[in-house]
């Protein structure tokens, strides 16, 4: 299967290791992976801010870059959902683009969903010994149904002990620009999430969206918690190169 990796703007800028972990996992699952070189952003920030025109313009670009692969995989529920769920409706007035959008949308997957339901990854390359707790990012959960998949993959790692937190499906408060525009509200929600994480006593918090992870890590550290590790699920599953210490 020939697929294209949608790296996401946050992974590109902030934590490339997630992108490389995703590459490794997809290859371990037997896929040929290309990384379209001109990719930048899925357009969600503009879309959620109400700038439909800007979102459509970016969507056009993405569709042009990713049309023609068997699948598009993103290590992010929110970016995958943007493409899969929201792209087609951006072109209600343009039948050709709409068809292309539907084509790309129909082949776009969040990483863990892909590794469970499309190109199943039976042997997990990474190694992790210890406890962790999993945060269900909103878009992946509610727009794409991602919940069992990451847990199924983690369950195949013998050293992993998952301790579920209370309210794992409650929003962490990131919400893109919400985290800055309504900073105190956002931090309050992040603080609740950190409290639930602390209650589990887990050594690490893991999630499938870097936005959530940056938000949670930022609040953890400001709260004085320097010991709870913060990992993207791709990093845990891929392991390697001492990434998950």
């Amino acid at each position: 299967m020939r697929l294209a990796l949608f790296v996401t703007c946050l992974v590109d800028l902030m934590r490339p290791s997630i992108g490389f972990a995703a590459l490794r996992l997809l290859e371990a699952a037997g896929c040929d992976v290309v990384v379209p070189s001109t990719q930048t952003c899925c357009g969600q920030p503009g879309y959620n801010a109400g700038d439909r025109a800007a979102a459509a313009a970016l969507a056009r670009k993405v569709i042009g870059e990713f049309d023609g692969c068997d699948a598009v995989v993103a290590p992010s529920g929110s970016c995958a959902a943007m493409i899969r769920v929201h792209y087609p409706a951006l072109f209600d007035d343009d039948p050709t683009m709409r068809a292309a959008a539907e084509r790309v949308a129909g082949r776009t997957y969040e990483l863990t969903d892909f590794l469970v339901n499309v190109a199943p990854l039976q042997t997990i390359p990474g190694r992790y010994d210890g406890t962790l707790t999993y945060h269900d990012s909103c878009a992946g959960l509610r727009e794409l149904g991602v919940q069992a998949q990451p847990r199924a993959l983690l369950a195949r790692m013998p050293g992993v002990v998952i301790t579920e937190m209370r309210e794992s499906t409650t929003c962490c408060g990131f919400g893109g620009t919400f985290s800055v525009k309504f900073g105190d509200l956002s931090a309050h929600m992040a603080d609740n999430k950190c409290a639930h994480i602390a209650q589990t006593g887990a050594a690490a918090i893991v999630a499938g969206d870097l936005g959530c992870l940056l938000n949670i890590e930022g609040r953890l550290r400001r709260r004085g918690d320097l010991h709870t590790r913060v990992w993207h699920i791709a990093e845990v599953l891929a392991g390697d190169d001492g990434v998950c210490r």
């Binding site: 800028l13 070189s37 503009g46 801010a49 509200l185 309050h188 190169d241």
Partner: protein, 468 residues
Amino acid sequence: MQVTALQFKRRAAENLRDENLQRALARLQTKFVNGRAAAIAELPDYGSIRDAAAEIRDRVLRDLDGYLRRFEQQATARGAVVHWAESAADVNRIVADIAAQHGVRRIVKAKSMVSEECGLDDALAARGLDVIETDLGEYILQLAHEPPSHIVAPVVHKSKEDVADLFAAAHHRPRTTEIRGLCREAREVLRPRFLAADMGITGANFLVAETGSVVLVTNEGNGRLCTTLPRVHVAVTGIEKVVATLEDTTTLLRLLPRAATGQSITNYVSLLTGIKGEDEGDGPEHFHIVLLDNGRSRLLGTELQPMLRCIRCGACMNHCPVYQGIGGHAYGWVYPGPMGAVLTPAFVGLEDTLDLPHASTLCGECAEVCPVKIPLPDLLRHLRQQQVERHLRPWSERAALRAWAWLARHPALYATGARVVARALHLFAGRKGRLRYLPGVSGWTHERDLPAPAGRTFRDLYRAGRRR
């Protein structure tokens, strides 16, 4: 009721720091959220009942005028008088005129959000009428001169100590903070008012087109008292409350109490049709039903139409992490939480409610728990779009978004920009690997660190040959 939604940010900030309020809001979690979950779990067919409920509401909305005409015809045939009101002011005028027409002096009132929307109590008081709220929560609010902070649990923001203070001042009895004692006190104080009232005002949870009936769901018994003893009953409600049949009402009743409070059914459900017969001892001699538009019909045929399905259960706000953090008063009008963030701009106007559709991460919990499947995040996003189209967003915000979108469409420039930012932030963060402060994003850094970027972008590393 006056709109103060432009105060949202300020009020939200205050409420986040209000420990009493935070404690009170935590109770919503344990009671209503857990209650709903347990009650829904008891319905093995929940999914299909919910689908049916959404269709029941949509069906009426597709032919709202037809069903309203039918309701009016049936209600009138049973001796009710149906009035139509375009605006809040019209409702107030109509109800005051009804009171005058029937020589009414003393009014008892059951809970009605529509009456809050209209500011009906104040309008009637201004005409010299004695209006007392009888729903315990609304009675407490009346004593406190405050608006409700939740559509089902209006005084969720108050502690029993707050209530004890209000009662002690108003009833001239020894102060008690014992909840049962407070409830009994309210019963004793309000009972004579029921018995002496000329007119009862209620809302309507549903209007049944088949029979011309008003449906009221209550727990306290005040709704029954308001509609049994006084000689005049006035029901005020929105035009969108119509349902087709008794069976449709029952389907909705399976979900409304469960979604709202976790009850399988409210203590009382009253189906009220027309005036009392000649040989009947109780019931009103006059029954007036006031149908309010106030912007509802303008939502039909627009992307916001699904909002009219709402059956006012409050589940959305109970589950909303934003509402859970700040409570209802921050939203600045009658309807708080996710449904309020849609209805307030829709009814009152975008200009006066700029923050409301944006004060959300679009997490989708509200839509998940809505018993009639209203796609609230999509509606909030639609309102955000409308703000952009009408140039209501701050210039700086528009410019930043445009700049981002432009840059993202120019990959070479984007790559350079990203390279520079990644490097710079990585260096500023130093050994600690995080920044405590960054100009321009103080909303983030005020209470959170910003983890530093790795220093090189994925693009650059991949181009340089890294693959794992």
